[in-house]
């Protein structure tokens, strides 16, 4: 960005007064650092929808000021999905008080602003907009904090499709299956291609999905039944039938009995 163009910013916080306060402070420091509040959002999902629309219109923003704890989707998860945007904005986290998140951030050497934020501190943070964190590190953070808050990983997975960022609610996923290069996530409606490894996903969502096969994780509630494969089938020892979708998932010989027991 050139020195003269104002910084375009998105403010994300579930509390309206907190966004208001940031607006006032940004106004105060506008003399030293020209900036412009391009939009506001009350949680991560709203922010992503807004950013998608901006990206589609060819007007990406430079930075996002995101509260860490928000209902719907928290700030850390928001940042981890943002990384998939074509021109991802830098993210500056804000928090009033959050032991878990602050510990995780300190460990990962991620900077954050403590609310109430001081104008000087905000200015410094915006002057050196933080380098975008690599997606795996953000996933790791989202997982750590998600574990502490919800006892689970992220609430959504994201994928990138024709310039748009799509969110997939984890609770709607029937199964995750590793293909040659990608992992596909299947919901009742359709399939999504993910840019994450099945091993990572299993580490994050181990409590939610069950492994059927080297390349397949399934949501236990989606399994309708099992059938034994023909003796000469090289691909699978047996098949798991699913509710609502026609596909069958392979079950490996090694896992056949444990899987059947745990779903009995």
């Amino acid at each position: 960005m050139s020195a003269s163009a104002p910084l375009n910013l998105l403010l994300v916080d579930d509390e309206a007064p907190a966004r208001e306060r940031l607006r006032v402070l940004l106004g105060d420091i506008a003399g030293q650092l020209p900036n412009c509040v391009a939009g506001e959002a009350a949680n991560g999902r709203e922010a992503l929808a807004w950013l998608n629309a901006r990206a589609a219109a060819g007007e990406p923003v430079d930075g996002v000021l995101a509260d860490i704890r928000m209902p719907g989707m928290d700030g850390i998860e928001l940042a981890s999905h943002l990384a998939l945007l074509p021109q991802p904005p830098a993210v500056i986290f804000t928090t009033a008080y959050d032991n878990y998140a602050v510990q995780a951030f300190d460990l990962a050497a991620v900077d954050y602003l403590l609310k109430p934020v001081r104008a000087q501190r905000l200015l410094t943070a915006l002057q050196k907009l933080p380098a975008r964190l690599p997606a795996p590190q953000l996933h790791q953070l989202a997982t750590t904090v998600g574990q502490a808050w919800r006892g689970g990983g992220r609430s959504h997975l994201s994928c990138h499709e024709r310039g748009r960022l799509l969110l997939i609610p984890v609770e709607e996923i029937l199964y995750l299956r590793a293909e040659q290069k990608y992992v596909t996530a299947r919901t009742l409606e359709r399939e999504y291609l993910l840019d994450e490894s099945l091993a990572q996903l299993e580490a994050e969502f181990g409590a939610r999905f069950l492994r059927l096969h080297r390349a397949v994780l399934v949501a236990p509630a989606a399994v309708a039944g099992f059938e034994k494969a023909a003796g000469d089938d090289a691909e699978a020892y047996g098949w798991a039938l699913l509710r609502g979708v026609p596909e069958k998932l392979p079950v490996s010989r090694r896992l056949w009995s444990t899987v059947r027991q745990s779903l009995a």
Binding site: D14, Y97, D98, P116, G151
Partner: protein, 361 residues
């Protein structure tokens, strides 16, 4: 409003000579004496079995139960009469020096045993051996008084107060910093509202730092709850709605401090903040039975928003705050207050029933 707040320095559990009008004390006495009687019966059965040396004796559990029942015929009337005497003479006993009062209670137990045995003998029941009965009664009551003495030391007022202070002074830092941030956002645009908010914040902290051994007026506690919710409304806006249902209660009713506010804080933290759409907190304060002013019921209900990936930490967080209140209720009222929880997948409600007014001490 102003009432002279009653001191609750005399926690029911904290006097070495317990309050015999307190339900918890009566229950403990009843169980303690009966346990001793059961033990005595067992000892007699064991001695009998050793002495009889063969022969078709009944199975020992039956013999034990039989012997215990025989003993209770004497023990229960004794326990009942002594209980009445002690409840009546409580204030007199408390005025005496402790050791003298304890000796008096023990002698009273012995004397009553002699009187009851003599009366039973006059009616032609029992074996009329007054000496052993008196000694047994005195021994049992000495054990019981020793127990209450130890218990009082474990719950000494200093200790109880320190624990209460630690339990009371808990306003979530999350709430504090978010509220300060919200107030800062108001200062330039709406200074009047900012002033009100800071005043409410000051009241909340005064309440949290107040002497935990003093009862407060119910009306003041309700006002504190309203101020707290106003502050939360400042941050959460339309996401937070509140439904107060206050029945025919007297605002001067004394209750322990911070019974309401921590539960409201819990309800906001677990019920409203995690939900993008927010919800309604319902507070009902009333006498559980119409016209009966001896008990006061507080209930606080909140919705539980569905959380992707589980609700494990929420349940844990709730439990900590509730354990805190339960512990305080125990310190204030021993067994006479009740706390119950109605938990559904989508809603959560805490009910507290307090005796009111608390036992005069």
């Amino acid at each position: 409003m102003s009432i002279e707040p009653a001191s609750i320095r005399h926690f029911p559990a904290a006097h070495p000579l317990p309050d015999w009008r307190n339900l918890g004390v009566l229950l403990r006495t009843l169980l303690g004496i009966n346990a001793l009687a059961a033990l005595l019966a067992l000892a007699q059965v064991a001695a009998g079995a050793a002495g009889s040396g063969g022969g078709p004796a009944p199975a020992w559990p039956a013999a034990w139960a039989g012997r215990y029942l025989e003993l209770t015929v004497g023990v229960e009337p004794h326990l009942f009469l002594l209980g009445v005497l002690l409840a009546g003479g409580r204030d007199l006993l408390w005025r005496l020096p402790l050791r003298l009062a304890q000796a008096l209670v023990t002698l009273l137990a012995g004397g009553l045993a002699v009187a009851l045995t003599a009366w039973a003998a006059a009616l032609g029941i029992g074996d009329g051996a007054a000496g052993p009965a008196a000694l047994l009664a005195m021994a049992a009551w000495a054990v019981l008084l020793g127990y209450f003495d130890l218990r009082a030391r474990a719950h000494s007022p200093a200790l109880a107060e320190a624990r209460l202070a630690a339990l009371n002074a808990r306003i979530r830092p999350h709430f504090l910093f978010n509220s300060l941030n919200a107030v800062l956002s108001l200062i330039r645009a709406r200074p009047q509202q900012a002033e009100n908010a800071l005043e409410s914040l000051a009241d909340l902290f005064r309440a949290a730092l107040r002497d935990p051994g003093k009862l407060v007026a119910l009306g003041d506690e309700i006002e504190l709850g309203r101020q707290y919710l106003e502050l939360e409304k400042l941050r959460l806006g339309e996401r937070l709605t509140v439904d107060w249902q206050i029945g025919q209660i007297s605002p001067a009713t004394p209750i322990p401090p911070l019974m309401l506010q921590p539960l409201l804080e819990n309800a906001v933290y677990h019920g409203i903040e995690p939900s993008p759409a927010g919800g309604c907190i319902r507070i009902a304060i009333d006498h559980p039975r119409a016209g009966d002013r001896r008990e006061l019921r507080l209930s606080i209900g909140n919705p539980l928003p569905p959380v992707a990936g589980g609700r494990a930490t929420h349940a844990a967080g709730n439990r900590i705050a509730l354990d805190n209140i339960r512990e305080r209720l125990r310190l204030y009222y021993d067994l006479e207050a009740r706390l119950s929880i109605e938990s559904r997948p989508d809603a959560y409600q805490v009910n507290i029933v307090l005796p009111c007014p608390p036992p005069p001490l």
